[in-house]
């Protein structure tokens, strides 16, 4: 479903991604780990289409489409979802209006009529339960005054609403206490199926105890430098990244 080949990307002329390759198939869970500044969030942003990054080389194929040629909104409508490492606060835009607009744009893309008011409220209620998101939060402005944990839960709530084919979770676990971590992971697992895939970006094994990866990759200096099974995450947790740097001859 996703095939990234030799991806290079810059921000303000500085190269961050330097020839990255990754293939993801339906039903798979991929974990991406790597030191701070390696380019993990850059990869997520580039895949989601953040215009502040310039792709200078390489290709990304998503279900047979040239992902890089699509606008951010079309990528979302095609079924790509990014759970932001730092979700944005948007005062004055209510969660309800935000989600209604998003759902209806997705429906329009599929040639469907706008959702009815009752169906929409039902959907909101149903999906809120997936991540145990307080009704009060759903009535507030987008992320405004949410705690760190609430913001992350709100990301997974939106994911549940939009039912993506590929979800990228960028450090969704950071800043979560153990209860919140369990709720968020349960949410992600409930949404998992044989048809969709997940890329989990994390520093910690503890999330991977809940969301079991099929593959673990190390992203370092803008490239995937090592890929293996779930055991790699345990090894990284134990030994850090220095041995990988050594392997690379640094």
């Amino acid at each position: 479903m996703l095939e990234i080949k030799n991806l290079h990307a810059n921000i303000n002329g500085k190269e961050i991604l330097r020839g990255l390759n990754l293939t993801v198939r339906p039903g798979e869970v991929h974990a991406i780990m790597g030191p701070n500044g390696a380019g993990k969030s850059t990869l997520s942003s580039v895949l989601a289409g953040n215009p502040v990054f310039d792709v200078t080389e390489g290709s990304v194929n998503f279900y047979g489409k040239d992902l890089l040629a699509l606008s951010p909104e079309d990528r979302s409508r095609e079924g790509l979802f990014l759970s932001f490492q730092y979700p944005v606060e948007i005062p004055g835009v209510s969660m309800v209006n935000f989600m209604r607009a998003a759902i209806n744009e997705h429906r329009k893309y599929k040639g469907l009529d706008p959702i009815s008011a009752t169906d929409f409220l039902k959907l909101m209620r149903e999906k809120r339960d997936v991540v145990e998101l307080d009704n009060k939060l759903a009535n507030r402005s987008v992320n405004e005054g949410f705690s760190g944990g609430e913001k992350k839960r709100n990301e997974i709530f939106q994911m549940a609403m939009l039912e993506p084919r590929l979800s990228i979770l960028d450090e969704t676990d950071s800043g979560l206490d153990i209860d919140a971590l369990r709720i968020v992971s349960n949410g992600v697992n409930k949404l998992k199926s044989a048809d969709n895939a997940t890329i989990v970006i994390t520093h910690y094994q503890r999330l991977l105890d809940y969301i079991k990866p099929d593959f673990v990759h190390v992203l370092y200096k803008g490239q995937i430098v090592k890929s293996a099974g779930p055991e790699l995450a345990l090894e990284l947790e134990e030994k850090g990244y220095d041995w990988i740097k050594k392997e690379l001859g640094e």
Binding site: G49, E73, I90, P91, G92, N97, F98, Y109
Partner: protein, 448 residues
């Protein structure tokens, strides 16, 4: 004095008899005093610091028709006019150009003792009441556009609420500009709330025809001790309309006002708002917003005079500028030497959505008392790129995302409205405006 002033001076000299003939004596007395002031001052020009970005003089240069003869305008607003703010169950009045529109069969219900209607008529039927207030706080000595209005004005609207009378229903005055040739109108508003009175007045400005209009307006608002007054002005004029308005508010002890000015659609607009807090514990909320695009120009100039101790003022203005629109905000706050324990807050936030849009903002605090709490802040920015990307990443198109953010930006201005039904209606109108569906005066069925 230039040719621009000269054409009006000549007009007055040649026709002041005609101007005076249908008018109440006290309007004419004020007129005779104002004319030499206008001659001396002329129209405001950019070299005047208060008019730095708005050359009002130029607005008066074209040749406009004036209805000095007070000929009836062939229009029945009750029939043709569908206001954008309907169903508020307001007590509704109309002004067509600068004439109060009288319809015998429509007798609005107002509490006992309340007087509302034509300035010229009420000045004749109640001269002792009107002479106490008319032209008492309008600053003819300082501003030539005000002296001009006093010189040429022939009618307007009066609202008088006697002591301790509470008018529950909002009163609505719809100003309609109507003409077959380029036209000038000079309107006057006089609002008097005696001690303990309460009222809400909503004024809607509309243009019905495609010709060029120039509307001057001077409002004098007297809010007595313990009185509460909400004043909403909603402009939805055409791009061919120029508005030059000055509003003077005088507040008594423990009074409370909301002075709300929204420019939803316009051509060129200059609003002066001058609030004097002259009784202790008075509170003024001066709130405004402008949405402008194309070549539209909106200049709001506010001046809050804390003349006595223990008063509170709260000011919030927001502008959203698109295309080549220009916005100006100047907020002057004067805290006089004796006005201890003043609290005065001012905020002006603006979005320039394009490179060509220009915003000029200037706070001006003059504080002569030492025990005060004052703050001000002004920002000019673009839409938040991170927020825009966040919305788009959920499938919302770029224009829709921009619309949501612009709408969100105006949220707190709308939340300050103290009339629930107007609040809801405005949300709808603002959204329509951002969607480009208010590109002309939508309130008039005749120009659709």
């Amino acid at each position: 004095m230039t040719q621009i002033e000269k054409q009006y001076i000549d007009l007055y000299n040649a026709h002041h008899g005609l101007i005076e003939k249908p008018c109440a004596a006290l309007l004419n007395e004020a007129r005779q005093k104002a004319f030499p002031l206008f001659e001396a001052l002329g129209f405001p020009v950019k070299s005047n610091e208060d008019y730095k970005y708005t050359q009002v003089q130029d607005y008066f240069a074209p040749d406009y028709g004036l209805n000095l003869n007070r000929l009836p305008i062939p229009v029945n607003p009750y029939e043709v006019f569908r206001c954008d703010v309907p169903n508020l169950s307001t007590v509704l009045y109309f002004m067509v150009n600068d004439s109060f529109y009288q319809k015998e069969s429509v007798k609005p219900v107002l509490p006992e003792g309340v007087i509302a209607g034509s300035l010229n008529e009420i000045a004749q039927s109640h001269p002792e009441l009107i002479s106490k207030y008319y032209n008492q706080i309008a600053n003819n000595e300082k501003d030539g556009s005000v002296a001009f209005n006093t010189t040429f004005v022939q009618d307007g609207f009066v609202l008088y609420v006697p002591k301790n009378v509470i008018v529950e229903r909002p009163i609505q005055l719809v100003n309609i500009l109507r003409g077959d040739v380029d036209f000038m109108v000079n309107r006057r508003l006089l609002i008097i709330l005696e001690d303990g009175a309460q009222a809400k007045l909503l004024i809607c400005d509309h243009t019905m025809d495609k010709v060029n209009f120039l509307a001057t307006q001077v409002a004098e608002i007297f809010v007595g001790d313990n009185a509460v007054f909400d004043y909403y002005e909603l402009e939805e004029n055409s791009t061919n309309t120029t508005r030059v308005a000055s509003t003077y508010v005088s507040q008594g002890k423990n009074s409370n006002t909301l002075i709300n000015g929204i420019t939803l659609h316009n051509g060129k607009t200059r609003n002066n708002i001058h609030v004097t807090l002259s009784g202790e514990y008075a509170e003024a909320n001066v709130i405004g917003m402008a949405i402008a695009d194309q070549e539209q120009h909106v200049d709001n100039h506010t001046y809050i005079d804390h003349a006595v101790p223990n008063c509170h003022s709260n000011e919030l203005y927001k502008y959203v500028l698109n295309d080549s629109a220009t916005g100006v905000f100047a907020g002057r706050i004067l805290v006089r030497k004796d006005a201890q324990k003043t609290t005065a807050f001012q905020s002006n936030k603006n979005i320039c959505a394009t490179r060509e849009a220009k915003m000029y903002t200037k706070p001006q605090l003059e504080i002569y008392a030492d025990d005060v709490k004052c703050s001000h802040g002004a920002t000019v920015g673009q839409l938040d790129e991170n927020a825009l990307f966040y919305l788009r990443s959920r499938g919302i198109s770029a224009p829709e995302a921009r619309m949501l953010l612009m709408f969100a930006f105006t949220h707190d201005v709308i939340e300050n409205i103290r009339l629930e039904s107007l609040k809801d209606r405005l949300k709808h109108l603002v959204e329509k405006r951002f969607r480009g569906e208010l590109s002309k005066c939508s309130g008039c069925s005749v120009c659709q």
